[in-house]
């Protein structure tokens, strides 16, 4: 694992009207590690990664990629930097098939702008196979006919297909059964072993402690701190999630003055 962050956020704030979703949040992830991002519902996890993707503009704060300041105005910019995101609200088109979803928005084409189906089919099959996704019968099957686990597999496969440097997964296991969750977690570990930076959002501590290298805790839109998996305990993290006090504003009670969850 490298010792400088691949992605670093400094002092990120974001509000939606009167809702202060993020306040002065610092966050980082290094290549080769799984950084877990945990927090209660409404803590601001999804908002934080949507700021990374450029879907939400940050009100305040800085984003550094590989040490240098970067501005990301949308999914295309993020993809250009090698950042891929699997969104919580599954970003798949039900009316399109697996291949079409895998290549959505960046379809392979020839000089005449004609779609090149064969390479897309081959790469899709190869990626699914490399991730041990074996239950999908046909990659030409509309996504509407897939089960929740299969859809999640497609979403994850799509994120890793692009030689990305950083993969962010927002609650990828929330809707999955036990064995599919294990598969996704295995996959997450494998990505980090291959040298990718992985951000895993979850509020399942069991999952987190199984795969994470470090854990960032968000509470009421503030970051409570970063915990090394090897030296922390579930109790400590649970306490941080439910009652943690932001270290940056030590002395101010964490409860009562944050944004309503």
């Amino acid at each position: 694992m490298s010792d400088h962050p691949l992605l670093e956020l400094r002092g990120v704030s974001k509000s939606f009207g009167s809702v202060q979703a993020l306040t002065d949040v610092d966050f980082e992830v290094r290549a080769g590690e799984v950084m877990a991002l945990v927090g209660d519902n409404g803590a601001g996890k999804s908002t934080l990664i949507k700021c990374v993707a450029g879907i939400h503009g940050m009100d305040d704060g800085q984003l550094l990629f590989d040490g240098s300041p970067a501005t990301i105005h949308g999914p295309k910019d993020a993809a250009k930097l090698g950042i891929e995101i699997v969104y919580q609200d599954l970003a798949l088109c039900d009316n399109l098939d697996v291949v079409q979803n895998m290549y959505l928005g960046r379809e392979e084409r020839n000089w005449f702008h004609r779609l090149r189906e064969s390479p897309m089919e081959a790469k899709t099959s190869e990626t699914l196979r490399s991730l041990a996704v074996t239950t999908i019968r046909s990659i030409r099957q509309p996504v509407a006919t897939l089960s929740g686990g299969q859809r999640q597999s497609v979403a994850v496969a799509r994120a890793v297909m692009w030689n990305s440097q950083l993969v962010i997964l927002d609650e990828p296991t929330a809707a999955l059964g036990v064995s599919q969750t294990e598969q996704v977690l295995e996959l997450v570990k494998r990505l980090a072993e291959q040298g990718l930076a992985v951000v895993l959002i979850s509020h399942n501590l069991h999952d987190i402690f199984e795969v994470a290298t470090r854990i960032t805790v968000l509470r009421l839109g503030r970051d409570i701190g970063v915990y090394e998996r090897a030296t922390t305990t579930q109790e400590e993290v649970v306490h941080a999630i439910t009652a943690g006090i932001p270290t940056k504003v030590a002395g101010i009670a964490g409860t009562g003055n944050g944004a309503p969850a």
């Binding site: 993707a53 879907i55 949308g74 999914p75 295309k76 993809a79 995101i85 969104y87 609200d89 599954l90 970003a91 798949l92 088109c93 039900d94 009316n95 399109l96 098939d97 079409q100 959505l104 928005g105 960046r106 379809e107 084409r109 702008h113 004609r114 779609l115 189906e117 089919e121 074996t134 239950t135 046909s138 990659i139 030409r140 509407a144 006919t145 089960s147 929740g148 686990g149 299969q150 296991t173 929330a174 809707a175 999955l176 059964g177 036990v178 064995s179 599919q180 969750t181 294990e182 598969q183 399942n204 069991h206």
Partner: protein
Amino acid sequence: MRERFADALRSQVVGPFLIMLAVATAMALSTDRFLLSQNLKNVGLQVAIVAIVAIGATIVILTAQIDLSSGSLVALTSVLLADIVKNAGLSVPLAALLMILMGAGLGLVNGFFSSYGRIPSFIFTLGTLAIFRGLAFQQTGGTPIFSVSPQLDPIFYGELGGLPLPFVYVVVLYALAWAFLIYTPRGRQIYAVGGNESAARLSGINVNRVRTEAFVIAGALSAVGGILLTARLDSGSPNYGQGLELMAIASAVIGGASLFGGQGNIFATLFGAFTIVIVQNGLNLHAVPSAWQNITLGAIIAVAVGVDMWRGEFARLLVRLWRRGRAAQDEARPTTSTSAEDDVQSRP
């Protein structure tokens, strides 16, 4: 695998084709005059304009928008074309080209305000429906322009290799639309935008732009429709194209396009257009008064949209049954693979 995809496409076309066949059979059985070659030729000529405008309607509907202004744009094109040819003396090809550009431009206006401007297209194009026809009346003071130019006649009544030109236009334009929708990235993105707008956006697709382009295409095709109508009647009139937008939309919906977007097949739209025109023709042959023709058209649209709604329910039911069947199958077959249980919702 590609075969399977082709199968799926074909199956989308079979239903509308059978509907068309059923309607045609009913007409043939109910009146001898339907199958007269002169009448069939009439149907063919009549269907061309509806079918061409319906391409645009389908593409817009695929992006989950609607264009109600196409009939009015046909009228506006028609009077402007007649005017600049007859009164300003422009050559017909140049004038026609200008009209297509104008159609695309007005489509751009429709698309821009309904996507970037965030005005629902249903409302905005209802506005331009009134505006375009108003402009058409304004242009001529309400009177048609007759005997425009002898150059116009061959555009509609000419032949290419023994085939009537309207037939050629339809074949060429449908082939182009099909290639665009099925074989180009943009075509696929049109389906994606209609299927799941936010997924498309998160995938980096410029949703507003895709929608705007759909309206531009629709505008250009409405102008083509207007040119053909003007050539057919050698006259321009602000009254042309009344209700044509409904016929075009009905063609798409009878062809199985979903008004929710993301579902539809361009060839199925062609059969939808035939169905509409055959019904209209049949009603004419039976001397049904035009009020009743309108009522019939309205009823057909209502039923087609109803079927669109029920089809969603029906499809969901099928998927559920199919999955249940599969689950039962997987249970019955003892397996060592753990991956079979992926619907289980049992996280602690």
